[in-house]
Structures are given as C-alpha cells and as structure tokens.
C-alpha cells in the first residue's frame, strides 16, 4: 500500500514532531510511506476566507505532488476535509478526483482502512480529547451531540488502545474551540473567549494533556494555556499513538 504523507504547512513549519510521529506510526503499521518534497498547503486558509478562486495554483501543486498514491494521509481533519470538498485541477481532473476520494485523516485511516485493533503503546496520563469540528462534523470521525444517531468515535477507539491512558471528555464534548482559521485573528475576542471556555472544562476534569486530531485547534488552545501559565499541555493524537510501549 503506497501512502503519500501529507503534512499540513503549519505542522511542517512549527510542529515537525507531529509529522515524524505520523510517519513512524504508519510505517510501524506496515505502510509504504513517502513524503512528496514539494508539497505546501491544502488551500484551506484562502478558501475559508472567501478566496477559493485564488487557490488554483496551490491545488495544482497539491495534485502534482500527490498523484499516483493509493492513499493520501494527513494528521489534520480540517485540511483533509478541505481537500475532499474542494480540490480541483482543470488539467488533471481524474487525478484530483482520485485524491479527493483517497485522502484520509490519520485516525480514520487507522480505523477504517488499516483496521487497527491493537497498539503496543502506553501513555499513563489523564487526557482530555478535543473533538475538532471539521473532522467530527465534516469527516464524521465521531457521532455528534446534535444528532440523534448511534454513538461512535474513531479517535476515542484508538485512545482506548493506549495502556494507562485515562480519557476524560469535557462537559460539552463537541463545542468548537474558536480557532476557525483566519477567524482567530479577525474575530479575536470571540475566538479567544471560546478557547478559554474549552480549557476551563478540561481544567475542571483535572487533565494533564489535551489531545486531538487537529493541531490548528491545539495550537490555539496551547497559546491560551501558555499565556495563563497553565500546567496543561497539548499533544497531537499521533504523538500518543506513536509512543513507547
């Protein structure tokens, strides 16, 4: 199985350890992984700000980098959702379509394609899970509190395989953290207030870590946690799943 590793731009630049954990984890699970060297961004920051028309060059570059893989996997729900919904290339429409249909967020790839049932890792800590909206409501990584449908959660299933990990969910299990892409600066006051409220619920649970499948949300929460000098740390789910036995 040839997997193209998609590392979102801000993870590439600011959180290389998440890229490393994702790569190592996929290799451990038997995937033949390559990282196309000329990848940049999925195009989401432009599109969500109303400039989807400007992301053609970015899309083209993405298709040029990721054509020909069986699967494309990335550790970010929102970037993957954006690709699934909006990736187009006039010159290579078939390739773009193949990518849209075969791009996966890491936890859904582990659960749905690799069908992981067991992981030999431990993380003896109290951990809170942040359900990021695009992964949850867009990619259906878990059931949603608004809908009256059977409950499930791919990230929770994986965290349940980690020895010693004590999972605790915040009182509002799927409220948005307020990151929202450029929303976080153009609606700074609401964005930060939403983040503070998320953190308060995790604090009430006494967690040591907040984890999730979208580093953008975690980056926003981390920024607020650090500013208030909180002992709670953020950690991407790939880092936990790729941990030590």
């Amino acid at each position: 199985m040839r997997v193209g590793l998609f590392i979102p731009c801000y993870i590439d630049q600011f959180y290389p350890q998440i890229g490393i954990a994702t790569l190592e984890l996929l290799e451990k699970l038997g995937c033949d992984v390559s990282f196309p060297l000329n990848q940049t961004c999925c195009g989401q920051p432009m599109a969500n700000s109303g400039f989807a028309a400007l992301s053609k060059g970015c899309d083209k570059n993405f298709v040029a980098n990721f054509r020909g893989f069986d699967y494309i996997v990335g550790p970010s729900g929102s970037c993957v959702l954006h690709l699934k919904e909006h990736l187009h290339d006039d010159q290579f429409p078939g390739e773009a379509e193949h990518i849209r249909k075969h791009v996966y967020e890491l936890t859904e790839f582990l659960v749905d394609i690799l069908k992981v049932e067991k992981l030999d890792v431990s993380f003896p800590h109290k951990v809170g899970l942040h359900n990021s909206c695009h992964g949850q409501r867009g990619l259906h990584l878990s059931s949603m509190s608004e809908q009256m449908l059977p409950a499930f959660s791919k990230p929770e299933k994986l965290l349940g395989m980690v020895n010693g990990l004590q999972l605790s969910m915040p009182a509002r299990p799927d409220e948005c953290c307020g990151f929202g892409g450029t929303f976080c600066v153009f609606e700074e006051a609401v964005s930060v207030k939403m983040g503070k409220d998320r953190i308060e619920e995790h604090e009430a649970n006494g967690v040591e870590y907040i984890t999730g499948y979208d580093e953008s949300c975690l980056m926003h929460l981390e920024g607020i946690l650090k500013r208030k000098g909180s002992p709670i740390k953020t950690i991407h789910i790939a880092e936990i799943l790729n941990g030590k036995a």
């Binding site: 630049q13 000329n38 940049t40 600066v185």
Partner: protein
Amino acid sequence: MSNTLNHAQAAANFIADEPRTNWHNETLWFVRQKRDKAAHGLPEWEKLREWASQIKNHTLSHLDEYLIEFEKNAKANGVQVHWAANGDEHNRIVYNIIQQNNVTKIVKSKSMLTEECGMNEFLHEKGIDIVDTDLGERIVQFRKEPPSHIVLPAIHLKKKDVSDTFHEHLHTEKDNHDPQYLTEAARQHLREKFIEAELAMTGVNFAVAETGAFVVCTNEGNADMGAHAAPIHIACMGFEKIIPKAEHLSVFLRLLARSATGQPITTYSSHFMKPRPGQQVHIVIVDNERSKQLGRTDFKNSLKCIRCAACFNTCPVYRRSGGHSYHTAVAGPIGSILNPNIDMRANADLPFASTLCGSCSNVCPVKIDIHDQLWKWRQVLVAEGYVDTTKKIGLKGMAYLFAKPGLYRFAGKAGRAVMRIFPFLVNNKLNAWYKQREMPAPPKQSFRDWYIKNKKS
C-alpha cells in the same frame, strides 16, 4: 449602516463584560440542552427533519402554485389578501388599513417580519404607536432596543435590567427582581392594552395552501388575546411560510417547539381560518428580496427556515457575542446567510462571524446547510469586492506563496528564524494572535528538513 460596528467590534464590546457573556452563553446552552433532550425523546427525530426538509424543498420549487392556491382559498374564507414586494410596501399596506378604519390602539404579537420591514419605526413616524405584547418584545420595546434573538427577544437582559425597565415604565417597585412580580406587572399592563385594542397584528408560522388557513404559535397566548378581542386582524408573512397541506403541520409543529425551546409543542398553536361576523382579517404576503434569494441556486434553501432559532442557541459565536452584534433583525447563523441577500455591503461581515463548525446545520430542523452557505457567501462577497484591502493583499500573498514550493520553504525558514532571533517582531500589539495567546515556539528545522536528513535515501 456606516456608523454601525461590524460583528467583530460589537462582539469584542459584548465580551468585555465577561461574567455577563458567561451567563448569556450558559443560558442559551441550557436551551440547546433542552432541545437535545426533546429530540432524544423522539426515535423518528432524524426522519422528521428529513421529511420537513423535503416538504420545504418541494414547496419552494412550486411556490407560485401554492401561493396562488393559498390566496384563492383565503379569499373564499373571507380573508383579504395583500401582496407586498418589499418592506416599504408592506408598511404602507398596514398603514392604509389603519387609516381606512381610523384606529389608534394597536397590539402586535411577535413578528420578525415586521422587524425586518422596520414597521414600528415607520408607523411611529406617522404618529401611530404599536404595543408589542410578547413579554420579551415589550421589554425591548420599552428600552428602544431591537430584539436580540428571534424566539427569546430579551435574552440579552437579566432580571435586574427588566426590573429597572419596568420600574421606569410601569412604576414597579425599585430593585424588586422577583420574576413572578415583574411578569404580573407586565400582565396587568398588557391586559389593558388587549382590552382597548382596535386592531391586532400577528405574524404567521405556517400558511396552509389547501385551506387558506394560517397558524400562529406562541407560548403566551398573546396572539390569541389580540386577534380574538380586536375587530381587525392583520397577519403578516414572508412568502416562504407557505406549506401545501394541513397534514404537513404534523411534521412542522412537532419540530418547531422542540427545536426552539425543547417543548413538545408551543402552548398555543392557533389556527385562523375565517373572520368572525363583523371582523376583518387581512393577510399581507411579503417578498422583500425573497424572490432574489430563491433565484440564487446556492442560497435558495435558506428559505426553508421556520424561525426556530435552534441555530442561534447552538452557535458558539452567537452565544458569546449576543444578538445585537449581528446588527440585523434576524441574527445568528441563519441571519448571516439571509441578510447578505438583502444588503451585501451592510452585511458583508456576517458570513465571516463563524468558525464554520457546522453545529447550526446539525440542529436545523429543516436541514438547511447553513455552514456551507456561510462558506459560499464568503466566496460571493470576495468576488463582489466587499472585503477589506488588507485581508485581500494578505490572502493573495499567501496564495502566491503556496503555489511556489521553493518560495514557501524560504519564507517558512526565514519566518521561523525571525521569530527565534527577533521575537518582538511578532510578539507585539499589531499581532491579533499575540494579544491573548502565545505564539508557537519556532523549531530550527521543519519536518521536511528532518525528512531529508533522516529518511530520504
């Protein structure tokens, strides 16, 4: 709208009072939880939403037929039907009825349409004052404020605010915050208004094409008090309130109150069909840019809305910014997809007042894809030039950078170096991120650098 604050500015002012913001957030979340509980009580909930959505989709694509059918049947019932192309025409129709009948005492139960048309202000200028009889509406009317929520118009106010307002206008005891005392004062005050009213106005929740009847849902019974006591009844409706058959009410009435407040049904679901002997009943059917929205393929189905406000209550942005920050009659997520249609320039900020979390679309009882439409409105607003230049320059630059891998890598490396060596260049007041958040620590090597060093053979 030039002197109106945009959503981000108004929201920042609202949040400046953090305890009040917390209270607002908690209060509306409580309503959302009541909605969840009510929806959980119906195993067929998701099916009901689907049916409602399909009935509305069908109706919107046969709107001309159903509106004409409704008019014919309403007229046969003895109801006078008026058509208004816009808010002005609506207001003039109402004014004419008032003048022709030479009335001065008018009560109105809650109608977001009359808010949308600015009717109270229009009539006030003509020397006619209307008494809003919904408790929340009456409170904001005393305060000369617009409603901040389409179902809970005074939800931005606390008991103390209501007590102060009633003390001023109804001479209740100062600092008596007892809800029962305050409500009783409003009740006595409104009872007088109902008794002396010569004309009653109501909104319309559902207009049934096959019978020519219409349904008004309230919890206070104020629509009924007005309409049954006064000799003239004017009901105003946006043209999307039409449903084909009476049996469709069995879908919508089950969804409406559960979605709105978590009640199985509103206390009063009143069906109006024929005038009483000697009574006049008028219906004003209003377009006011709705036909334009109907012609926008991407936004047409926003007209399915039944005004339950479930999207308000679930919206994490609305709960923390208050209804007035949306500076429009209909606030919240649904307002943010309806109002740009009415005035793109004035409401260009609204589709951006969202994180696109998608909770609104999930609670919507008629399955409007609200968050997708917010995304699509952003594209339209940018294409039409309603976005400020700094944002445009920034995003154009970003698009250019991401299309050029070499340049992206250079910029990334240079940016991280600048952040490490000259952190004050980013850690300052000009950076909105940094105001209340630390920046991520910039590592020396990117993932790509690591990959080339460690993995690439």
